[in-house]
């Protein structure tokens, strides 16, 4: 056991007693990246009703760790944290929904209607997207979401996930193939239903 009288290293002392993060930097980070974080947790499987909390959790973590985030690296830190928070939330949500009441679903839908038809179509599309994304593994899903929806380059994703660019390229290739295969199945199913 370490001696209680041992002197803490300087950096460890700073880690224990760190000053509050600069208010301006926190505000700037929130302004610039809140939408990005919210969209990311949403597309990584957090139900819409829980996205606000998940996004808030990401920023609370970031604010707490602000002194360890190099200037200019806020987005990378936030996205990395968002991926982890989303994964945790998704697992928790899956456990909660192991038992789901059909009547509850109907009731939820009744309470959410009426919607304008176009908005409803968009919602259906998003639901469909969520279902297709849910069929991908976490690695493929994160890569696809960041590349297609957040328009990060492969190099940016590699830096963010701390993996080689070649690995990103491989995951992206597999993710796109899997996604398109699911879409093809959807199309095939539709064609099979045509009279």
């Amino acid at each position: 056991m370490l001696s209680g009288a041992a002197v803490l290293p300087q950096e460890r002392t700073q880690a224990v007693a760190r000053p509050a993060p600069p208010r301006e930097r926190v505000a700037a980070m929130l302004r610039q990246h809140f939408r990005l974080v919210w969209r990311t947790v949403r597309r990584l499987g957090v139900p819409q009703s829980a996205c606000d909390d998940a996004a808030q959790h990401v920023f609370i973590i970031a604010a707490d760790r602000m002194d360890q985030i190099p200037p200019g690296k806020e987005r990378a830190f936030l996205l990395g944290t968002a991926c982890r928070v989303a994964a945790n939330a998704r697992r928790a949500n899956a456990r909660r929904h192991e038992v789901h009441d059909e009547a509850l679903i109907d009731e939820q839908h009744r309470s959410s209607t009426p919607d304008p038809e176009q908005l409803l179509e968009m919602k259906q599309m998003r639901d469909l997207l969520d279902q297709l994304l849910a069929r991908l593994s976490d690695d493929l899903r994160i890569t696809l979401v960041l590349f297609e929806l957040e328009r990060l380059s492969s190099a940016e994703i590699a830096e963010l996930l701390d993996i080689p660019v070649g690995t990103v390229a491989s995951r992206l290739r597999r993710a796109r193939a899997a996604f398109q295969a699911e879409v093809a199945k959807l199309r095939g199913s539709e064609q099979g239903e045509q009279p």
């Binding site: 224990v16 919210w38 909660r96 209607t113 179509e121 929806l149 992206l172």
Partner: protein, 285 residues
């Protein structure tokens, strides 16, 4: 390395691109941003951020493009197909000519993916409880009722909305429900008893401020208070890390290392892992 052309940029008649473009309309609302700003104590510094921020890439035209995509898709799918046939393995009840029925089909197949009403309760999740004075700000939709069997039936969105609405936008002072992490050291009357994530945050903030002062004992006392009164598990990892720091500060390194080891076992990919791993590796059993 050249990146491939994005599916989302494919012409409107491309089905994969159309489905992906549907995500571009899925955005947070102002209340979500304001609530987070209030929780972080920067309410006065972020006004209008969502209105002025650009969505990625094609965001400017995303709405129109995605609506076109939606129209194309629904035409392809024989109007109303969305569905479940493919995704759920052949449930052909996905329906014809009725977006309403199609929506119900999608919901029934994948309840996780349902975009629930904004005030809907998430079953089983320990979330902030709405302070009584904020519960009346908006009428409660019927969606709340079916989930009343949950241990807590908080209304996080409405709570945040109400709390955010209570924050004077020109003021740097956060609302009572979402006290500033860097602000009020003394609890306001409205913060006792704690009734929201903001209250949990305020209790942790007292611990954090004590650490900043170098007062490890006060930090531990604040964390004990948090453990007794917390309304949510959302901030538990942060509380654990603060406790580890506090234990280090008061010289209880073995306890800190033990707690750090347990934390890393429970949260191996946590963003705190970098900080905590040296504590575990440096400890002597």
């Amino acid at each position: 390395m050249n990146d491939p052309e994005r599916l989302i940029d494919q012409p409107p008649d491309d089905l994969a691109g159309s489905i992906l473009r549907a995500a571009l309309d899925d955005e947070p609302n102002e209340h979500a941003l304001k609530a987070t700003a209030a929780a972080l104590g920067v309410s006065g510094a972020i006004g209008g951020a969502l209105a002025g921020a650009a969505a990625p890439g094609t965001a400017a035209s995303s709405s129109a493009a995605s609506k076109v995509g939606a129209a194309v898709l629904f035409k392809w799918l024989g109007i109303g197909l969305v569905s479940a046939t493919a995704v759920a393995g052949g449930a052909s009840w996905l329906t014809r000519h009725s977006p309403k029925h199609a929506a119900r089909a999608v919901q029934a197949v994948a309840p996780h993916a349902v975009s629930a009403p904004r005030a809907q309760v998430t079953p089983g999740k320990s979330l902030p409880v709405v302070p009584p004075e904020t519960q009346v700000v908006e009428p409660a939709p019927a969606a709340v009722a079916p989930q009343s069997n949950a241990p807590h039936t908080p209304l996080p969105e409405r709570a945040r909305s109400a709390a955010a609405a209570a924050v004077p936008q020109a003021s740097a002072t956060p609302s009572a429900a979402f006290a500033s992490p860097a602000g009020s050291a003394a609890p306001s009357p409205a913060q006792s008893p704690p009734a929201s994530l903001g209250a949990d945050l305020a209790m942790l903030d007292r611990a954090r401020q004590a650490l900043t002062r170098g007062d490890g004992q006060a930090a531990l006392a604040a964390l004990d208070t948090y453990e007794r009164k917390r309304q949510s598990n959302v901030l538990t990892p942060e509380a654990d890390v603060l406790r580890i720091r506090a234990l280090r500060l008061v010289g209880q390194r073995a306890s800190a290392a033990t707690l750090a080891r347990a934390f890393l076992a429970a949260h191996p990919t946590s963003s705190y892992a970098t900080e905590l791993k040296p504590l575990v590796q440096g400890s002597v059993q």
